[in-house]
Every structure is written in C-alpha cells, then in structure tokens.
C-alpha cells in the first residue's frame, strides 16, 4: 500500500500507457502518453502558480499586520480563480505604436521558456518528464531565455518605462547567470553528474540526510541570491520596480497577456525553488511522507523565503546590483569551486 502511495504517479502513468498500448499502435500510444503527462504538468503548473499567488498575498499580508484576501471562498482560497477570470475577461489591448509581432510573441517566449524548465525537475523517483544527462545545464540555459522575452516585451511596447525595464532585465539576468552557473558547479563536482536525478541520488548517503547544503553552504547562498536576482524578485525586482518605472517591461500588457507574464514569472520562480530543493536539499528524499510530498514541502519552504524577503527588504539600485554580482557573488562562487575541488581531493586521498 505504501509503495502504491509513494509511487502513485509513475504507476498511474504506467497503467495508462499499458491501457493505451492494448488497443493502439505503440508509437501513437507513446505520443498520447507524452501529451497526457505534459497536460498534467501544465495543469499542475497553473495550480501551483495560483497557490503561490494566494500564499504570497496572504503571507505578506500577515507579515504586514493585515488580513489579505479572505472574501472569495473559505479563507479567500478562490481569490486566484477570481483574479484569473477577471484577467481573461479584460480587453486585449495592443498599443497603437507597438510592434505588434514582437509585442505578441514575447508572452509566448516567456511562458514556453518557463514551462520547458519543468522537463528536468524530478518531483519524485520516476516522476520526471525527461532525465537528461545534462539536466542542470539545460535548466539554466532555458531559464535565461526569459531575458529575451523581457527584451522583446520592453522593445515591442514602444514605451520608455518598458524600455528602461527591459534594459535593466537584460543587464541583470545576464550578469547573474554567471554566479548562478558557478554556484551549481560545486554540486556537480561532488555528484559527478549534471543529471538532476543523479544529484538527488547522490544526496541519499547518511540515510538520506547528506544534503548538499551541508557540503556546499557558500554554493547555496550564492545560488539563492543569484536565483532571486534572476527571477526578478525583491530585493532585486528592478525591472518591474513599481515605485520607479511603474511596471517595467510589462507596463503595456493587460488582460490575458498580462496573465501569461504573471504565469511565466511564477512558473520560473517555482522552477528555480524546485531546482534549489533538488540541488541543495535532497530533492524528494525524506522519511515517512511520500517523496513528491517531501519535494513540494521543500520547494514551498524555499519559496517562503522569497515571500519573507519581499515583506522585509527594500530594492537595491541598478549599480549596486551589478556591483553585488561582479564584486561579491562571482568571486565567492569561484572560491567555492576551488574549495570544493580541494575538499574532494583531500577526501579521495584520505579514503583511498
């Protein structure tokens, strides 16, 4: 029974696959099965984003000594649905002077690049769309595509605030990409693999408690700061700083397109938190509860830190932001690589 609960999703997928293969040719069954699992992830992603938005509004409200949304449904749980319905029923406005193709395409670039990252996130044993052997590299490469989406939005809107936001986005995302990659290298060196599943398996020592955060504290700090900047969350939310450039690159977007930007932003944020849980907190490993529950607990706990920072910290300025990336994070990440290398060498000498 516990095996059934722990492996519910792989078993269900397997069952559907067998059922389909019983009356369809193999390749059609395969395609249908892939479509089903992708649709499942899309629905899952939408629900996750709704929950994140609801939790963000509610948790920050409690931090600020107010109640937050509590009118729509019990405890305001239906608020995200009401918000989405409102956004979908709004008029779709394309500004007269905007470049319509770039303007419309940017939302698609954003959402697609956000969804692609989910291909390599291991939600549990066997619960991964594709266990690429370069999983981490793929995730980081795809995540940086969002910079292009933002630039397109900012340029296509033909608005000065949007342009300022897009320029900030390009500078910020590209600068923080580098410490982000270097912070992950330490984990990769310890595991000896770029595959996300292998990284989780690598942390299974010490009866499931040899999490990489213990061996890679500097790496985690750099990863988390760089990821916050990459995701454009407080205190690094310069590209949509509402007190300076109103809404930044998505200032001209409304209705469904704005909803897509919102979706992409939170999907990205959840993906990065999920990668953080995978890389540094042992992914799905944990006692008693099913692995996917552990994975979600860890990811949401990491996300809580984003909320916490948003409720507390002011926003840094663009030059301070760049200084932090190049003067502090990058040297720290490089030093971490060196320390990790020395550590691995010492370990091998002692053991062997």
């Amino acid at each position: 029974m516990s095996n059934f609960i722990n492996n519910f999703f792989p078993i269900a997928a397997n069952w559907i696959g067998t059922a389909l293969a019983s009356f369809l040719p193999g390749w059609i069954a395969n395609i249908i099965q892939i479509v089903i699992s992708i649709s499942f992830f899309f629905v899952f992603g939408t629900i996750v984003v709704m929950s994140l938005v609801y939790l963000e509004r509610r948790i920050i409200a409690f931090m600020q000594d107010r109640l937050g949304p509590n009118r729509v449904g019990p405890q305001g749980l239906l608020q995200p649905i009401a918000d989405v319905l409102k956004l979908f029923s709004k008029e779709d406005i394309v500004p007269t002077n905007a470049d319509p193709i770039v303007f419309k395409l940017s939302t698609i670039v954003m959402v697609v690049s956000a969804l692609l990252v989910y291909a390599v996130i291991p939600f549990g044993p066997g619960m991964i769309i594709s266990d690429l052997n370069i999983g981490i590299l793929y995730a980081i490469a795809i995540a940086s595509l969002t910079a292009i989406g933002m630039l397109m939005a900012g340029w296509g809107s033909n608005n000065k605030y949007a342009l300022l936001g897009a320029m900030r986005a390009a500078a910020q995302v590209i600068s923080y990409e580098i410490p982000l990659v270097f912070s992950v290298i330490g984990v990769v060196m310890i595991t000896g693999s770029l595959s996300t599943v292998s990284i989780v398996h690598g942390q299974a020592a010490w009866s499931g408690w040899r999490w990489n955060i213990i061996l890679q504290p500097i790496g985690f700090v750099v990863y988390f700061i760089a990821a916050t900047a990459e995701l454009n969350r407080t205190p690094f939310d310069l590209m949509e700083a509402e007190s300076e450039i109103v809404a930044g690159y998505h200032i001209e977007y409304s209705g469904v397109r704005f909803a897509l930007f919102f979706l992409a932003e939170y999907l990205n944020a959840f993906a990065v938190a999920a990668l953080g849980a995978t890389l540094f907190f042992g992914g799905w490993l944990g006692p008693f509860l099913p692995p996917y529950v552990w994975f979600l607990i860890k990811t949401y706990m990491l996300f809580f830190v984003f909320y916490w920072m948003r409720g507390t910290l002011p926003r840094v300025r663009i030059d301070q932001l760049m200084g932090l990336a190049w003067k502090y994070l990058l040297p720290a990440a490089l030093a971490n690589v060196v320390i990790t290398g020395v550590g691995i060498w010492v370990y091998q000498v002692l053991i062997a």
Binding site: I60, M63, Q64, D65, R66, K160, Y161, L163, L164, R168, T234, P235, D237, L238, A241, E242, S243, E244, I245, V246, R310, G311, T312, L313, P314, R315, V316, R317, I318, D319, Q320
Partner: protein
C-alpha cells in the same frame, strides 16, 4: 564637368558617437511614486539624470482666493484640504493669523489642547512620510503598513475628539471647536505608552537595514547653504545640520513650557531626513505627555461671535507644521472675511532645490529623493 549638388550638401560622416542617446522620461502626473499629481520631466543618459524639470499645478484649487469669500470660521474647512495629512496644523496656523488680526485672546486650556492635537498630527504626518519613503525605496509596503496601522490609532483619536479623521476643522479662531471628551485622555496615554515600541519597529525595519542604508545614505545631498538659500524648512532643513525649529526659536502658544530637543542630523542626505523624522516622533510623544500632565481646567474657547469681524490691518503668523514652516499672511478690511490670505506652504518651498538635488543620480534615486522631502500636493498647488 557637372557637379552633383547633393554631393556638396551631404554632411560629412559623423564620428561614431559613443555617448548613450539621451531620453526624456515624463514621470507623472500619473505615477505611483510622485505622492499625488506631481510631474518631473527627467532627461536621462542611460539611467543617470542629466536634467530635471519640475512641473506642478495639477491640483490647483485656488484656496487663497476661496479664503476671501468665506468667513474666518468657514475658511477653516479650506485649510483642512491644504496639507491634508496634517489638517490640525493648518487649522492652527490659520486660526493664529485670524486671532492676531482680530486681537482674540485664547484660553490656556485651548492652547494645551491645540498643542496635543498638533503634535499628534505631527506623529501622523511623519508616519506617512516614513512609510511612503520606505515604499519609495522599494519595500513591498511593509513599513507603510506598519506606519499606517499606528496612524490609524491617531485618526481614531481625532474621530473621538471631533467626529472627523482627516478634515477635522477642529482648531478654530478663539480656541478649539469642542472640549476633549472624557475617554480621550486615557486613550491618548495608552497610545503614547505603546508608541516608542512602534517607532522601534520602524527602526528595525528600516534604520538597521543595509539595503535601506545603501539606498539612502549619501543620496540626494542638500548642503546647508543651499537649503538656506532656497528657504527650505522643517525636517529637510534640520537634516542639513541647521537646528531651526519655530517651536524653539520663536515659541508660539505655550511651546516654551515644554522640555524637548530640536533634532538635527548632519548627513544632508535622504537618510538624515528620514532619521530626523524618526527622532522628532519620539520628541513629539514627549511633548504630548507633558501637555497631558499639565492640562488645566477652564473654557476650551474664547467667547466669540461666529461671524466676528476683523479690523483693518494685517497679520502674519507661522507655526512649525510637520512639513516645515507654515505661514499665513492675512489682511483684514473690517468685514467678516479676510481681504487677502497668503499661504506660505512648506511643501511648495521645499520643492525648490529638487531639480538640483536630482542631478547625477539614478532614476531610482529620484523617487527616493522626492520621497525624502515629504511633500503633499494639496499644499504645493493650493
């Protein structure tokens, strides 16, 4: 041989221009951080401000002209809407000018009540100033929410006194509109006992925050000489190291009876303007406590006809309002209304040096510098 005329007039190829192209950003009047309908036309090179132009007047309602139409008591309601975050202080400044013009004696109890409500108003106004400054440097409204929570208690007390929260019209020529209700004094004491902890909360969130310091220390320098030459007053002047405060330097009412310090800071920057306000909040709380302790019995207002007449003549009175030095110049012509009423609005005059303070800073700093000056557009445009 014929020469193609176009070849002659074609300009020479320009050398590659390595400078960034400057763009003009029109910040406001519809912008979340301009504290109302204020407009800055910023010329930017990259993100750096190379030229700033200040445009105001979007909220002009002709308050000075309105004051010539109503009686002295009518006009109190117009002053509520000047600096709408500190209606009590505006009422007081107007009433003092009217009293000086008409030669009205104000009972002592009225002065104590006036002092209490005006200092409460200063707390409320500084709460907004600090909260919105926090939002301007980019916190997600947490300091704002904390500050408004405490301001709410003050507004509740105003509601208790006079039945209004913001447009109070409470201080009137001759005294105050109503005597303090019984429940006010315990409520006020309870509030004052808790208030220092609340200020500590703001300080934990902002003063000790490294990012907040990075965003405010050394930003938007207003040197003392420039502050004086632009006639800046209030916390913005005291943050430039000049301890000028009318409550000490030219005590009006009963301010000479209270023990308090004029708070200054020497940084001349956004952080100094913020920290001066924080310290002034603590000092104001001290003043209110002393006033509550010595509140005398007696009438709360002078015996005065509702449509009293002021003789021919002129009067000028000024007070230390939360935003700075608020003055009313009034000319009487023997009728029941002032012949002319000129308002020296601190928010308007404090905006004077803004276009110079902005030069060379980033867009993000423009918002912080404007926020640190703490303007209210109702007073700027009148």
């Amino acid at each position: 041989m014929s020469i193609d005329p176009r070849a002659v007039v074609d300009p020479p190829t320009e050398p590659l221009n390595e400078e960034t192209e400057q763009i003009v950003v029109n910040m406001g009047p519809q912008h979340p951080s301009t504290h109302g309908v204020f407009r800055m036309i910023l010329t930017l090179s990259g993100e750096t401000i190379v030229k700033a132009e200040i445009v105001m007047g979007y909220l002009h309602r002709g308050v000075e002209k309105q004051c010539e139409e109503g009686t002295f008591v009518h006009n109190i309601t117009a002053t509520d809407r000047l600096d709408y975050l500190s209606a009590m202080s505006n009422n007081l400044a107007f009433s003092m000018a009217a009293e000086a013009l008409a030669g009205i004696e104000v009972p002592e109890r009225a002065w104590y009540i006036r002092t209490i409500v005006c200092e409460l108003q200063r707390l409320a106004s500084h709460c907004v100033a600090i909260g919105t400054f926090g939002a301007d440097v980019g916190t997600f409204f947490t300091p704002l929410s904390y500050a408004f929570r405490d301001r709410e208690r003050i507004l509740d007390m105003f509601n208790m006194i006079c039945g209004a929260r913001m447009t109070v019209s409470y201080v009137r020529p001759g005294g105050v509109a109503l005597d303090l209700p019984e429940e006010f004094i315990p409520a006020c004491r309870y509030f004052l006992d808790l208030y220092p902890q609340k200020v500590d909360e703001y300080e934990t969130l902002l003063t000790k925050n490294e990012i907040f310091k990075a965003r405010s220390v050394g930003i938007g320098i207003l040197p003392p000489e420039k502050a004086l030459s632009y006639a800046v007053s209030g916390p913005s002047l005291r943050a430039s190291g000049i301890g000028y405060d009318l409550r000490k330097d030219q005590p009006y009412g009963i301010y000479d009876r209270f023990d308090f310090e004029v708070q200054t800071a020497t940084g001349c920057d956004c952080f100094s303007r913020y920290i001066v306000r924080i310290r002034e909040m603590r000092e104001s709380a001290k003043i209110i406590k002393q006033a509550l302790d010595h509140l005398p019995p007696g009438p709360h207002t002078a015996k005065l006809s509702r449509n009293f007449r002021a003789p021919e003549g002129e009067a000028f009175s000024r007070i230390e309002a939360p935003k700075g030095e608020l003055g009313f110049y009034m000319v009487g012509d023997g009728s029941i209304a002032p012949y002319r009423c000129k308002i020296r609005a601190p928010s308007f005059i404090n905006l004077g040096p803004l276009h110079e303070m902005l030069l060379g800073w980033k867009v993000a700093d423009a918002v912080a510098i404007l926020g640190s000056l703490d303007i209210v557009l109702g007073e700027v445009d009148r």
